[in-house]
């Protein structure tokens, strides 16, 4: 479904992505992990063109999405994106956050969008918060609304950029539960995440990145038990003993 072909990206003289070659199949759940600054957020942001690339190509269902002629709005309307900082629209209610795009893009009428929005809020367990504004919701609830908002595009593909990193620990579970259900329903997902439990349980594959390269790709069982690359071994050791000196 998604194909990265020798993708290269620079921020000025700094190379953020180096020769990325990867394929993500329909229905696959891929978790991308790696140390901070390794390029994993950048990678996921290139898939809906929030970040331009300078070399290579990215294809979704055979279409080169970074090509000049690609309608970027039409592309994005079919990809759900969930941000680390939620980025809900604070001047709109939870329900309005979900209905804004479908109505503005002319994909459905207000009534239909309303029904869809309510159904999706119900799906993330927040039907009773449809009329609440983001500031009235906890972090975990906001992120669940953000997932519902992304699902309102009825996307075949969902991208998650560290969806639980800005959450208090007790709220991580509720967001992961929603994501787990999505995966179970067969959604194609690319998740940048440090939640190793989630990766082990839900991911079909784990990609390990460092310094802009994908250094390792393996099913989670293999990755966590027998990481091959020394950087991956180091990384796993670091996150398992977060209080170790050095």
């Amino acid at each position: 479904m998604i194909r990265f072909e020798r993708v290269n990206k620079w921020y000025g003289s700094y190379q953020a992505l180096v020769d990325i070659d990867e394929t993500v199949a329909t229905g696959e759940v891929v978790v991308v992990c790696g140390p901070s600054g390794s390029g994993k957020s950048t990678l996921v942001r290139t898939v809906n063109r929030l970040e331009p690339i300078q070399g290579g190509r990215i294809e979704i269902d055979g279409r080169d999405i970074h090509a000049r002629g690609t309608d970027v709005n039409a592309l994005r309307a079919r990809i759900g994106f969930v941000f680390q900082q939620f980025n809900l629209f604070p001047h709109l209610t939870a329900l309005q956050n979900c209905t804004l795009a479908p109505v503005q893009l002319g994909r459905m009428g207000a009534k239909e969008a309303d029904e869809l929005g309510r159904a999706l809020l119900d799906r993330v367990g927040l039907a009773h918060k449809a009329g609440a504004y983001p500031a009235q919701l906890s972090g975990g609830q906001q992120q669940r609304v953000a997932i519902a908002r992304a699902l309102a595009q009825q996307p075949p593909l969902m991208l998650f950029d560290e969806p639980t990193s800005a959450l208090d620990p007790e709220m991580v579970g509720e967001v992961l539960a929603v994501m787990r259900n999505l995966a179970k329903d067969g959604m194609t997902m690319i998740c940048v995440s440090h939640e190793m439990g989630f990766a082990r349980e839900v991911a079909d594959r784990v990609l390990f990145m460092d310094a802009g390269r994908i250094l390792e790709r393996a099913p989670p069982a293999e990755f966590f038990l027998r990481p091959q690359h020394p950087r991956a071994q180091q990384f796993l050791a670091d996150i398992r003993t977060p209080f170790a000196a050095g």
Binding site: R78, H91, Q104
Partner: protein, 232 residues
């Protein structure tokens, strides 16, 4: 003071109207209101253009902002007064000249307020809107500006108050707005400059103070109706 008001009060308020053209305080109000109403959309458009990704749009607008901001209003009025007829081929009325000068001058200042308001919002909101497939303009209209305008309100009011005071420069091109009329009255009466100019000063103060209070009221009302978390 009493006979001053009796003799010249109406002249102060409406100029020679209805026997002659409208002038005085009424003309000042008309000029200020028209300038505000036209400068705001211009300021929005220029401010958005200043942040555009298209250089062909961003650069000329940025140049315009720098030129006008680096020029006294008086100069802009002279340009409008002397150059505009040369360019267009026909003479613009004094009111029209003054209106054009004010709209351009204030539009540029409003543009910078708009730009600051948009930038102050942080890029997460724009990104989230674009990630949903909204176009740049849709994202501005539905997501960014509704929030940014609230934050801009105090600065906008500041600029509006300035606009009211700037109408007094119409005096220089002989527009019979309230300052011009007051000067005429002073010339005729000759012995009461203090009273005449105090009245003029108080008139401007009342207008500006009134607008500021009105803006505070709008702001407070807006806050009461604002969704929680959206605070100017």
């Amino acid at each position: 003071m009493r006979d001053l008001i009796d003799t010249y009060g109406v002249y102060f308020l409406v100029g020679q109207y209805p026997r002659g053209p409208l002038g005085g305080l009424a003309l000042t109000l008309l000029l200020a209101a028209s300038a505000l109403l036209l400068a705001l959309p211009l300021g929005l458009a220029l401010g958005v253009a200043r942040l555009s990704g298209w250089r062909a749009l961003r650069w000329p607008v940025t140049a315009l902002v720098f030129v006008v901001r680096g020029t006294p209003l008086l100069m802009v009025i002279f340009w409008a007064y002397f150059f505009l007829p040369t360019l267009t081929g026909y003479k613009t009325s004094q009111f029209g000249t003054m209106l054009i000068a004010l709209v351009v001058f204030d539009g540029v200042y409003l543009a910078e307020i708009v730009r600051a308001g948009i930038l102050g919002l942080g890029k997460g909101q724009m990104e989230a809107a674009r990630a949903l497939g909204l176009s740049h303009l849709q994202a501005l209209r539905r997501v960014v500006l509704p929030q940014a305008l609230r934050h801009m309100l105090p600065s906008l009011v500041n600029q509006f108050v300035s606009t009211i005071k700037e109408t007094s420069l119409g005096y220089i091109i002989g527009l019979s707005e309230v300052s011009f009329i007051a000067t005429q009255i002073n010339t005729e009466v000759f012995t009461k400059p203090v009273q005449v100019y105090l009245s003029l000063g108080f008139t401007y103060f009342a207008l500006c103070f009134g607008l500021s209070r009105f803006a505070y009221w709008v702001e407070a009302r807006g806050l009461r109706h604002a969704p929680p978390g959206v605070r100017a």
